[in-house]
Symmetry: D3
Subunit: 229 residues, 6 copies
């Protein structure tokens, strides 16, 4: 299975991808029933990016970034490269030259379960990167992995063509086929939240807005006037 | 004991709180004999905030943020919400809607031993947050905890009404009753440091300013001209 | 061996140091055969600094910063203080007063395998710091260590007089005697990278520029048209 | 998708399962091209167990073990329960009473990405457990998860019916359909290793047995007589 | 507050301590409403010990074990020494000589939020130790701490005289005054568990014994016959 | 510098090595002024081994164990192989076949800053291993490292020919030339400790044996009769 490159993948509907990107990670995660979120160690290199696109996946050996070069050829404009590693490794598999290449090929960004280097240069380029570490440690090109096979990244199975949404909160995945449904559900959620936000801004309590007082009482919550001691 | 909410707590003197906030975390920590500091994993969501206020405490179950809603009702303007968790957990228990609510109720900020989400939105709002992680992972409202009972947060026992001081260096607690004494001691310390700073800026050495040469010699420090190799 | 201060050390050629600083961490690391990089937990306090200088080393006990004061006397303008710790420890051994002192003595920055405090003040001063943590935890002056002896910092043996290069990517060391050779090799590398960058910007692939297609095929890489499933 | 229990799953051929169990984790992992291994934090509660069986999967909320009870009903004798958690959590979701239940139902063991408690009692029972931690922290029964859906556990996607092999080296998964092929390939590997072992025991070198001298030389390996310095 | 030794403390009822020791950590933790458990990094040096006793507390500086010697004088036969550290530190503050001393003074064991050394010798002595690490790193005697003041250890505030229960599952604390109540509640729990255990051994399901089917259905749990895919 | 094998190294005096092995890790570490100890994550695969020998060093790439095969040829009976890794990596670079080979070549054991696999088999062989992890993850033979050059392992610079002492407490290094002096100093220390042990066994306090009462008083230690609260 190692050593396989799948050239073509199915991608989600473009409008769904765009809508998911506008919603952002936290809303999308909630909209699909609190699933699909990568572990929180996957952090943005710089703050302020929010992207969404189709996942092109790559699987690398530790200390080796060969498959990123292979993936650069098969990705299409608008895609996001998602890179897994065969074992835990923080070496700087992604740097400014690869960022230049991915940008030129139209990639929207990269999510990589290894390290990233040339932090200053890539931040200046405003190329979006989520990684497990910043490390200048160089990598070799010696061991085959695969491209566009399912990979586990930060606790999540990523299939080629899944929709990736990434922002300052981290990275969430949406199944390609469910993308439109999740987008709509997220938009509904946003509308409701807008109303809730207005009420909260006026000082109303979540206890009342969400009707929590009764279930809390039923669970046995007791109030004491205090102060205690 | 779980499932208890104490409505009213004693708070420290307002002038003492204000003075402690001006001093900042490092000075306050030194002023009370190098005690009261939370573990360094408790980090600000955004750089540049410095706040001080009375601790209103909440204790949550892992993956559950119900008690934050309960706490929102009992806190007073100027308070800081301090949230502990029953076991190690980084889920995103605090997001933009709760930040909106706390802000509307007058809270100065939150210190939470769980995760925080909506990182971009809360940073834009300039609502101060210290947390163990940024994570969009949603939480449930299913298990009772308590509000305004003592909780251990980041290696520190927090009692309701303790003064919380938080800035880019982390979070320090001051006992309510000792707040004024610590503030004064910190102000004295600041004055001394101002003099020391001026001397250091001129190139004088700490070795001379603090009188370290003799104790170093007594401990047996030896100087070699060098270079060695 | 503990309790020794070496006053004078050999330093690398000034032009070599300057050249290495311009190259930056990632390039220097590659230029010396992917060696000399500190572990990635050594992070800058603030983004954007890039410095190079001769290492003056100090070894401290956990929770103790006495030897930093001792080192402040023996360092020369342009040096970088590199502080190791006898065991893993994140206490705030370096703060604004010491930063003031080092700056006044001409130090270019500090690399410290302990914590740093007064994060806001030191960032405002623009004094460059790389540390393992930000922590306001105060330290004592009770246990002897050494100055200008070899110390292991973040997985790397640092000898006094080694050239330290540090930027947003981390910290790399260059052997004093090899400094000029490494600088030249790095400059050659930069020139080659400039050409590669231009080709990548035009959309050429690393696969072609680096001649990877043949070795990949020899290793057995297989392409499938897809989509699969 | 949360809140789904799949009662029946397809299982691998019994003879294949038995063969894989005899081979053990390291050999199986190699036999399928170095894939399928869980992250090394998944450790046995006690040393010396080696089991193989079909995966029945469960997904729990942090601090909640409700779905383990649900899974106990659908598993068949010979199965291994594999439990994932929605976020990182070490609470003691599995204890002696559940071990008693699983044993009575015929389960061969459990692999759980949470904590395990009653360590002494379960070790005395010789019920095999692999977990991320030992912790007596109790859990609640409040939030739905799922049973027999794919879950990610210790960096690996586990599908119901996958073959689980676990021993002192950790946990490896084999795809249900490929189980027989992997078993055969592992048996071939074992035979070859037996020959190699005999040669190594006589003092022959891997350099010669595996024919490494030439590729090492081609890569540029240089021998120096030494001693150096 | 640092530098204080309290010679005498109140201890819990001896019969309550004995009863709690028989129950063990997991049962005691449940019996007091799932509170009082230390973080799971606090692990036994050797498997098989189960002890209970009154906490004598000590607070040490990192890399310093002076206060353990001070505490050795004030503890009484049957006590358990609980050692906190001012910051995270794994140095070997407790070794065979101190174990010999504590044993001679009648201490039942030690719980230490630092490292332990002489692992082989102390295991041979069968002196019970729970620690955060095994490390031979030596410590100094240079900085004052305190004895018999409240300390936070492994996420838990320990007050002198609290009952400590420790076994292979970790360490739990019981408030001195509530010790008898908790012991009784634990004994009741054990009786109920004995009945449950018998039913589980016969193959009955927790689903039925605990009446979980209805609440699961109400929450929306759905069963599918499967197999899926 | 990568890709170098030094065939011959200088070794310490055999009697010194033997004496150091008898003393064990903790005593040797103290005897050389609390230096030379590896970080505590370096743990024995099985408890009860205590070995001493000359270090033959190897440096591997992450996920690659090629250089261990190269080192097997140059080591002499009685040596201990010490393996560093270019970046943090826990892959199972050392297994039962390599253990068989090293044993046949007369190696006393291995200290490896990567993972170890075949845990059960190697434990049965009683071949001593200290490693950072147990992991069955297979490694490749693709990237050159070096043999018998200085490497940093677990926070310590190891030079070929250094004396390695390893037991349940971890791993300590002694400089080849100082080995005899350290051994003598350790033997003196052991004699003193024997006297101290006898006094402690009789219930005498360290406070008196070590004369700590006066320095504690001078530092300001205060005794309170208590109980407090």
């Amino acid at each position: 299975m190692m050593g396989t490159v799948v050239r073509n993948i199915r991608r989600a509907d473009g409008a769904a991808i765009e809508a998911l990107g506008k919603l952002g990670v936290a809303t999308v995660h909630e909209a699909q029933g609190r699933t699909g979120l990568m572990a929180p160690y996957m952090r943005p290199l710089w703050r302020g990016a929010r992207i969404a696109g189709s996942a092109v996946t790559a699987l690398c050996a530790p200390g080796d970034n060969w498959m990123i070069h292979v993936a650069a050829e098969v990705l299409k404009p608008g895609d996001i490269l998602v890179v897994g590693c065969m074992s835990e490794n923080a070496d700087g598999a992604f740097g400014e030259l690869l960022a230049t290449s991915l940008k030129a090929r139209g990639a929207k960004g990269i999510v990589i379960d290894m390290g990233c280097r040339d932090a200053a240069e890539i931040s200046d380029m405003k190329f979006p990167v989520w990684s497990r570490a910043i490390s200048a440690r160089g990598t070799v090109k010696a061991t085959l992995g695969s491209v566009n096979v399912p990979v586990v990244v930060a606790g999540l199975q990523v299939k080629p063509g899944d929709v990736v949404v990434a922002d300052d909160d981290g990275v969430v995945l949406v199944n390609r086929i469910q993308a439109l449904d999740v987008a709509r559900s997220g938009q509904d959620r946003e509308k409701k939240e807008a109303t809730t936000r207005t009420r909260l801004q006026k000082g109303e309590l979540g206890l009342d807005i969400y009707g929590m007082r009764k279930p809390l009482e039923e669970k046995g919550l007791k109030y004491i006037d205090g102060p205690v001691d």
